[in-house]
């Protein structure tokens, strides 16, 4: 199992009933796609779609670049390891 932490910021929390941080266990081999599928099942497919179409994603505080045409192809090339922290960064609104 791969144990990662997920952080939800800003409006992402409207999809998680306010949860800002959680630890998730994923079966190996775990990729960002595995995590998105998990998030879609835990919360809603709409949330998974929102992440794929609108949110930046940081892995250990570095932005990742990945395929965004649909949840099925999102993040398949990004391997997750135990201890990784994934941050969901919705469209921003400072100032």
């Amino acid at each position: 199992m791969v144990a990662v932490a997920v952080e939800y910021f800003g409006p992402a929390k409207t999809h998680t009933s306010g949860t800002a941080y959680e630890k998730v266990e994923l079966a190996e081999p775990a990729t960002l796609n595995t995590l998105i599928q998990h998030v879609g099942r835990s919360y809603s497919p709409e949330f998974a779609q929102y992440i794929v179409s609108s949110c930046g994603v940081v892995l250990n505080e570095d932005y990742v670049e990945t395929e965004r045409t649909c949840p099925e192809s999102f993040g398949t090339d990004i391997v997750l390891q135990s201890g990784d922290v994934v941050g969901i960064i919705p469209p921003v609104s400072s100032g």
Binding site: P11, G56, S94
Partner: protein, 148 residues
Amino acid sequence: MSVFVNITDKPLDSAEVLNHVRDPHAGAIVYFGGTTRNTFEGKEVVSLAYEAHPRLAIRTLESIANEAKAKFPSVHKIAIVHRTGVVPVATESVMIAVSSTHRKEGWLCGEWVLEKVKERAEIWKIEKYADGDSVYKENEVSNVLGRT
């Protein structure tokens, strides 16, 4: 230090921000304060509340300030400060100050910095209305998909 950035949950102090950029080589200090406006599309706004990614947002503000210094060579110092938590009407959530040799680059730099902050800073606001409703906002210029 020619760049000062901070994120704080305390009320912002414009005099302090101006003093961070004050410089004997500068002929101008340009200041922007973003304040909570009391209406949005006809609805009465009572406050804005901000949250920030504790580390990414500071890193982004610092990058923006350093990019601005490279882009505007006659700018001496830049300060960017953003507040988190509840910001009441007519109160600043963000302050940007720039000191420059001459005023023209100061104005241009200040505006450039503000637009980049609105595009990139990992900070989110909730608008709270008099009727009790609240909603997360999204900046028109927000760009999170193109971030590196």
